[in-house]
Amino acid sequence: MTDIICPLCGKPNPSELEECKFCHAPLKAAGFIAPSDQEGDESQFISPVAAPDEIESPTIKPESATPLEQAIPDWLKDTEAGFLEGVESKPEQPTSEDISAQIESLINPPSVPDNTAQPAIDDDWLTNLLAEAGGEPLSLAPLEEQPGEQAEESNTEITEPYTETPSDEEKVLPSTQIEKPDWLTGLEAASTIKLAGEIIPGEPTAIEPGIVEPEAETGLNQMDVPDWIGQADAVESPAGQKEPEPSIAPAELPSWLEALRPDETAAPTEPVEDLSAADIVTAGPLVGLKGVISARPSAIRARKPPTYSIKLRVTDEQRARVEMMEALLADEQNPKPVPSQPILTSRNIFRLVIAAVLILPIVWMIITASQRILPPQPGSIPGVVDFTEQIQKLPAGAPVLLAFDYEAGFSGEMNPAVSTLISQLMIKNVYMTLVATYPSGPALAESIIKTGAFSEGIQGPYTNYTDLGYIPGGTLGLRGLANSPMAVLPYSLDEVNVWASAPLDTVSTINDFAAVIVLTNDPDTARSWIEQVGVVLMEDSTPLLIVTSSQAEPLIRPYYQAYPAQVQGMVAGLAGGLAYGRTVGIVRQNGVWDAFSIAITVSALIIIVGSIIGVVMKMPASDKMKESKE
């Protein structure tokens, strides 16, 4: 069954239909009849040049035409017919001499003008067109591969130079005088270069002698010539090189191709765009051209990454700020001179007034040894009575550990109680073992002992004591002293092993002392003694007595008031020292208590008056600030 291919939609239709059943396009006029299965294989359909007789017969009978030939439009058929007529109108068939001449021309191609190559190009182009129309291009295989004489003749017809019949216009002017447009000349040059560049040695049939450029001649001569070419050359045309080369007739272009040609009479127009200032392509396949768009977009163009300077781009203002900052930092290292202030300022005057108000009454009271103020009573000061009782319980000659752990600056507050204590101990003739956890303690203890040695009731210098010196390690040293006094302080400051002689030879632990008396102004030091040594002393009920300052008294009193008490007696501050003196009968009326009392009173008054003045002076200032804000 034969189907008709619709030229419009391309779908097969039955042959009896006049128009396409899909798109209703007329089928008979221009439809394509699809080949049926019984009519033959595809090779016959595709390859119209497979049968040489079809090529030889210029007219194609409708009944013997292939479906492809039926599908060819009329204009193309006319073109093909004209082309075939042109071929058949050749005066003679190529002979063996012609073949030899062609081969000879391949080996030594004559120099031909450029315009003679144009027909060959058209011939090649038309052959390709026919091949595309028929399905398979014309193969220019070697002659040995063609079976039979007809194939040989057909190949000879194809491979021989094709002479194009000039058109009417070309007949008026010689081919050499025809002025070709620039585009055609460029196309010819490009095609020539292309053919010359694509010539493959060993395929001489693909080479047209007329298009070989002179530059390629030497190359052809040097190429390896196949054996059959050499034989033909040697046998058939020994003197063929002498014969003149038949001129190549210009190809006859079909009318439709002529119609596509631009109007040659019109003069080529100058480019509208002025390319004088255009850029020249420097990279890519279009290198060297001017006024064209580069084939390589600039976006993907490989370029060297830009290099950035590591130097900061700063403005003058920023640089000035940096210099200012550096100057400030450099100025920080330099000591700044204290700005000179005027001596007589209100602040300095106020300070001088306060100092004078405080110092003058104190000096006056001490000078006059004032006794206007009633000294503190022992019963009103907690711990003094118990302290006195513990001292009175000490047996004569018993070893007592005495710790001097207060700063020399607190001597004015501590010394009244310490002096009274030392006097009582000397009266009791106890053996005082002096220790200290402060570096200045031994000197302070020695100074107090030597001063008290000349106090009332003491006959001669008191020597019943030893100074063991400084206990390093702070709290740890106290713990070591509690565990083994002999191990921590083996020698006295006189470098004497006091532990080997009486009365310390009976002392192996700290509980062997009759009492431990701590003289300190620091509550932390007192707490260390209580926590490290007092715990050991409580095992044998050895009394721990403390003489302290007024500032440490509130923190130590809980140890004294606790049950069982960790501190068995306490004397605190100047009031405690005076009370302890009154208890033991030593009354030191040297005006200290009156001076202390008046200094306290004046200090409180200064604070009160100063605060009132400050508030009064502050109020107008605050009112001004409020008014300014409003």
């Binding site: 390093p472 921590v488 400051l493």
Partner: protein, 207 residues
Amino acid sequence: MKKILPTSNAIIAVISGTLVLLGYFFPGVFGSIQSVLIGWAIILAAFALLLGIFNLALVHWKKTKTAGSSKVYSIVLLISLFITIIVVSINGPTGSFSLWLFNTFQVPVEISLLAVLAIVLVYSAARLLTRKPKWYIVLFLVSVVVMLLGSVPLFLLGEVTPLILLRDWLAHVPAVAGARGLLLGVALGTVATGLRILLGVDRPYGG
């Protein structure tokens, strides 16, 4: 060696701390070991004191080589240190010259500093309300005045019993409460630090 030393240091510290701690709870068993370890620590502390004195002298020796007026104080310190060392080395720590140096220079200087401190504190308290009269500043000043007036019999007034009672209450209740609170916090922190050192978490000795 760098890996062994930190481990060995940690082991020594943990074992020593544990033995000293056990000496408090079991003095009969670990008391002697505790005494030995504490004796070693006391010797090290004494050497640390000497090292501190040497460092002090070295720092001020370097300061004397720098330009400026502050080097005068360093020169005075070095001269004083040198003279004291010489005198005490020759005369002994309780010799007459040594005690003269102590009673002539150190005791008056320390007492003078405290006296100046007393005047500065009074001056500062008097000017305290001239800056920002906040309620807590007023409370502080009132407490100061009450403590001063309640400490001693007032001049020309004698003892003011309400002030004395109020002073005793302030000194032994709020003040001691605050101080004890601080001590409890310090004690808890000390316990935590001690446990961390005993467990080897904190290694102040390095490693």
